[in-house]
């Protein structure tokens, strides 16, 4: 192997990364650095303190904690870091250059490994803080810390290699054009499933987080015992052996971990050599499979002038269901949403089932809107320039996007609200209220989401997850949260007023008609406030889109 080739590739990657940083807005870089430092200190400090306390107070649970932490790290990396692994090893135009150059697949594999691991390494830093905290709390020897660092790194290498092996296997069986999407969807569904299973186990063990119930840890303990011999738990056992002063145990578990890593890296490199060309240049392209079927006779459209709004909505509908990349990200999220709403949310002690359903409906509206509405305008990508060229106003565009997005959001939130209400035994009147609330929240959140996307769009991004900037994301979250709180607050006040009007004192308030009237008035004010949030967001979005030309200039 020519070592200098790997160095050359790494140096070029490093320069490209450095140039990207240098080219970025310095204010943005400083802002991000300050944000990262602040959250790092706060979050890292809390995590470290918790881990140290647990390590000190729960000596018998150290092994389970460390094994569980390394397993959780592995699962999280499998999902979070997968796109980076695919992008670095299998996709990317620069790979084409490397393949054309006199460079072996092994050299490419080695040179790309560091960048492929980047996302996984970021995730691992959080877990390293936890592992170090447990070590400090346990009063372990100094050997613990370098070994912890090495084991976390090896775990990252191991998972990254596993992902490369998985991707190679997918490329063997799935057409390259859709391989990335299939792999990401499988990993997301697997990760989401494991997360839900973990949550269900926790919920069964600890109950509905009630302080009055005795926790039953049988399920949790049994789960941790079951994962004891899973390879992802081995580094945890090794570190626990160091804490206990068991040198042979530490050596054995560390040896097993390193051995597995060597085997997996070897297999990944071998498979990479065989699959690099199969995937190269095809990944990221647009699948054209659909059109292999016999073509239908062109549909002659009806009479009347074409409608720009309808045209945009129709185009979105056609393009969305053909865009495997977007579908592969939406489907796992939808499964997660449904499972979360139906399985995990349970009313707290003393909380009326109706208000629990209100919470679920609000959550569904917010989640769906963040998923579909916020990206609605930025997902036009370069096609936005077609709209700029056409006699279509920004206002028409916003309206068309709202109309397109509102259909799935309302459909799902209505189905969920009806399902929750009917299965929960709500009366017909409360069911109707819930459906109306779902419609109100759905429409409002979609309007806010679409507007937030228009406030800070990144039309150059080919990935929906990066198509809305930080400002847009915060505007969507803030706007939807404010709208949701005001709306639900308004409903709460109406309930309060109804209680007072029927002669029942609520929360120590005397049941007088004047107070009931005040409650209704305040409810109207809050509802008007929530509508004003929607109006304001749409107005800002419209003004911003009218003058937007960033992506056009950069072309």
């Amino acid at each position: 192997m020519n070592r200098s080739t790997v160095e050359i590739i790494l140096r070029a990657e490093w320069r490209a990364w450095r140039n990207r940083i240098a080219k970025a807005n310095p204010l943005r870089i400083v802002g991000l650095a300050v944000f990262a430092l602040f959250t790092g200190i706060v979050f890292g400090g809390v995590l470290f303190a918790l881990a140290a306390a647990a390590g000190h107070l729960l000596p018998t649970a150290r092994d389970a904690m460390l094994a569980g932490a390394f397993t959780a790290l592995s699962v999280l990396m499998l999902v979070v870091g997968f796109p980076s692994v695919i992008g670095t090893y299998f996709a990317g135009r620069d790979l084409m250059q490397l393949v054309l150059a006199p460079v072996t697949s092994l050299e490419i594999f080695l040179a790309r490994s560091l960048f492929a691991m980047s996302a996984n390494l970021l995730v691992a830093v959080v877990f390293l803080i936890f592992v170090v905290g447990v070590g400090v709390g346990s009063g372990s020897s100094l050997l613990y810390y370098p070994l912890a660092l090495a084991l976390v790194f090896v775990q990252v290498l191991l998972v990254t290699s596993l992902q490369a092996v998985f991707m190679a296997a997918v490329l063997r069986w799935v057409p390259a054009r859709i391989a990335r999407e299939v792999a990401v969807a499988v990993a997301s569904i697997a990760g989401g499933g494991l997360y839900l299973a973990w949550n269900l186990t926790l919920r069964q063990s600890i109950g509905a987080f009630s302080p009055h119930r005795q926790p039953d840890l049988t399920n949790l303990v049994s789960l941790l015992q079951r994962i004891e011999f899973v390879p992802s738990a081995w580094p945890g056992h090794a570190l626990n052996a160091v804490i206990r002063g068991d040198a042979w145990g530490a050596l054995a578990w560390t040896g097993l971990t390193f051995g597995l890593a060597v085997v997996l890296v070897g297999v990944a490199a071998l498979l990479y050599e065989r699959t690099l060309l199969a995937g190269l240049g095809l990944l990221g392209g647009v699948p054209s499979r659909w059109m292999a079927r016999p073509q239908k006779a062109p549909r002659v459209a009806g009479s009347g002038a074409g409608s720009p709004g309808f045209a945009i909505a129709r185009k979105d509908w056609i393009a969305y269901r053909r865009d495997i990349r977007r579908l592969s990200r939406v489907l796992p999220a939808m499964i997660f949403l449904l499972a979360y709403a139906v399985l995990l949310v349970r009313p707290g002690r003393g909380v009326d089932l109706f208000w629990n359903d209100v919470f679920v409906v609000s959550f569904v509206s917010l989640f769906m809107s963040m998923m579909f509405a916020t990206t609605a305008i930025p997902s036009e990508r370069r096609g936005y320039q077609l709209l700029r060229l056409a006699p279509v106003t920004p206002w028409q565009l916003i309206r068309a996007k709202v109309v397109f997005t509102i259909v799935p959001v309302l459909a799902l939130s209505t189905v969920i609200s009806l399902g929750l209400s009917l299965f929960g035994g709500n009366s017909a009147w409360k069911t109707l209220q819930l459906v109306l609330l779902a419609a109100w929240l759905g429409i409002g959140c979609v309007c806010i989401g679409v507007s937030a996307g228009a406030i800070d769009p990144n039309f150059e991004s080919t990935d929906d997850r990066r198509s809305v900037g930080i400002v847009g994301t915060f505007a969507a979250m803030g706007g939807e949260l404010a709208f949701g709180l005001l709306s639900v607050g308004s409903l709460g006040l109406l309930y309060l007023a109804a209680g007072l009007a029927s002669g029942n004192g609520v929360a120590g308030l005397p049941a007088t008609p004047a107070l009931a009237g005040l409650g209704v008035l305040l409810a109207i004010v809050l509802a008007a406030g929530s509508a004003a949030v929607v109006g304001l967001m749409m107005w800002i979005a419209n003004s911003h889109l009218r003058g937007f030309e960033d992506s056009i200039v950069s072309n």
Binding site: P298, I318, A390
Partner: protein, 262 residues
Amino acid sequence: MSSTPIAVEARHLVKSYGMVRAVQDVSFQVPRGEIFGFLGANGAGKTTTLRMLCGLIRPTAGTALIDGFDVFKQPMEAKARLGYLDEDPFIHPHLTGREFLDYIADLYRMPRGTERQQRMDRLLRLFELAGRDGELIGAYSHGMKQKIGLASLLIREPSVLLLDEPTNGLDPRSARLVKDLLEELAARGTTVLLSTHILEVAQALCRRIAIMDGGRLVATGTMDELRAQAGSAQGTLEDLFLRLTAGPESSELISSLLAPGR
């Protein structure tokens, strides 16, 4: 020229990005039915000027008029008359060729019905896309994307066409087709502003030509007028272009590059 209505007009267009002036005080007029060539070296400001004329970029100063309508003050009127094809056309990869044309037709409020379908069929046949119109555009070659981009302009018959490298990526047959088509369109009253690096195309098609360099218009006129401005009585457009944009002599650069010992 004075009797013919003006279809495209740039009045003292300026575009600055911070301290950099990409376009400096560009003014010209194109009468209806003329093919007007727009030449310049890479980075001369042609694309920025075209994008200001079609309303994609707001000028720092100056006015852009299409058929007398200010592109920024009366955008709906101007855009309805305008067709712009970028050098890298904006086309949705997940639509088929036919769906894309349908989408554009609806965006521009073209009446639906058989007539529109027939026009679509004729355009698809003209650009040899008839058998491929059911395929996703993302699977098209660069030349096919260029053709569907052109078809999307022609389906709605704009009175002004702003074309940035329209023959880019086209095979010789299709390039010839585009040239013939532009001549025919101009003869029927369509105004064409053509930006190209292929000087032979510009010389053959354009009645008048503007040459940009460093964000400025350095010359505008017919071939004879350009020759007079360049002080060269016999030069081809290539000679005139090189003289007016005054770059280093390529022969000297080539000699120094290939000189022994380099």
